[in-house]
């Protein structure tokens, strides 16, 4: 009976940890399972200044506090989990984790978040850690005095492009559209920065170099003109894809493979809820994930009380 839980939460990002906090505080026996470390994409944010109640903090710090909160209420957390079996279609949900054993629960909350989108070019993996990076705060200083490119046009791309000018000689923002998805204030700040220039309506086709990255090749989407940008580093911020591959054909998803829920975070499978970036929704912020996690936890608690 040791491995029988009321709720198993799959994913330990802000949605999953919040669900863990609410469930455990409601005396639900709760297990959070994460295939990596807790915190999710929140860990990638160097400075969080718009999370209510926190003047300024890193995403990792906030994640650490959330994890402690959940554990203080009695929530068990398994990280680096290798899930070998998943059966959540029936009344009793079952999960098998390598080296940990089998676990079951009466309800499951899917909060597996998103994984960084890649371009899918063969040369992308060749230069990972040798010019191609996904974290400006981690690797920015390797490119001090060098030319770099930032690929993307959302808030992360534009904000990090500005941040990278602390190190780089020149930052070229390469974006696929003729406009940015980032907030106007972020774009304005980037446009005013003399170290930043823009290549718009581009499709990135190749990364070039011997041992290290030396150039990125892109093609204008309308004219077909090819541009070779000489850079030592490229930072990729082209969004996220939902981490839902293990739930295919189990819960209903949309064409982008995001899980469809109602406003109470219920999926089409009884006793299975989804919260955070993994589900179909418009806005993806730490605050919206926290809200989803809260609702999913309360919904799951209500569901279990009716059983």
């Amino acid at each position: 009976m040791e491995n029988l839980y009321d709720v198993i939460v799959l994913g330990g990002g802000p949605a999953g940890l919040t669900a863990g906090i609410y469930l455990s505080r409601s005396k639900m026996k709760t297990l959070i399972v994460d295939t990596g470390s807790t915190g999710g994409q929140m860990n990638l944010t160097d400075k969080v200044v718009n999370y209510p109640g926190v003047l300024e903090g890193s995403g990792a710090e906030i994640a650490f506090t959330m994890r402690r909160q959940a554990q203080n209420f009695g929530c068990r957390i398994i990280v680096q989990a290798e899930i070998s079996e998943l059966d959540i279609g029936g009344k009793i949900k079952k999960i098998k984790i390598e080296d940990e054993g089998e676990f079951s629960a009466r309800a499951v909350i899917i909060a597996t978040g998103g994984i960084p989108r890649t371009l899918g070019l063969p040369s992308e993996s060749k230069f990972k850690g040798k010019g191609i990076s996904f974290c400006a705060t981690c690797d920015g200083d390797f490119f001090t005095g060098k030319n770099i490119a930032v690929i993307g046009g959302g808030n992360s791309a534009i904000e990090e492009a500005v941040s990278l000018t602390k190190y780089a000689k020149q930052v070229t923002v390469i974006h696929e559209f003729d406009h940015f998805q980032a907030h106007a204030w972020a774009v304005s700040e980037a446009e005013k920065n003399p170290k930043i220039n823009f290549l718009m309506e581009q499709t990135v086709t190749e990364f070039l170099g011997e041992d290290n990255l030396e150039a990125v090749v892109s093609v204008h989407k309308k004219t077909g003109k090819e541009t070779r940008t000489e850079v030592s580093g490229v930072f990729l911020f082209i969004g996220y894809v939902p981490n839902t591959s293990m739930f295919k054909n189990i819960v209903k998803m949309n064409e982008r493979e995001e899980i469809i829920t109602d406003e109470l975070m219920k999926t089409d499978v009884e006793g299975v809820f989804a919260a955070g970036d993994v589900r179909q929704k418009r806005y993806r912020q730490i605050t919206t994930s926290v809200a989803d996690g809260t609702i999913a936890a309360i919904s799951a608690t209500e569901y279990l009380s009716q059983q």
Partner: protein, 114 residues
Amino acid sequence: MLQTNLKHIETVDDFDKLVKSGQKIAVVCGRMGPMCIPVYGVMESLESKYTDINFRDMLFDSDVAMKTIRSLPETKNFSGLPFTVYFKDGKVVAATSSIQNKQQVKDIIESKLV
């Protein structure tokens, strides 16, 4: 100081002794950043499975890192944290730059250290 549960390598002497012993070693050289923390977690989770491997970490911004991991020919072209280097019989057998997941680390261990 790195806030991990791994044993830290803090001096060149510690590093030299360990490598010269010929034991199997996996060293993660990084900071407490988002690309490094998951790799420390992976190593911590593998310690009980691979008891004959010495899992260690090393602060990237330290004198010992400058004189050891960061000056190896195998890490010369690296530009992504953490630098993870695997040793066996006193020699480097594999080295990776940037974040790695558990399966990637296990694949290296199984092919190079076991």
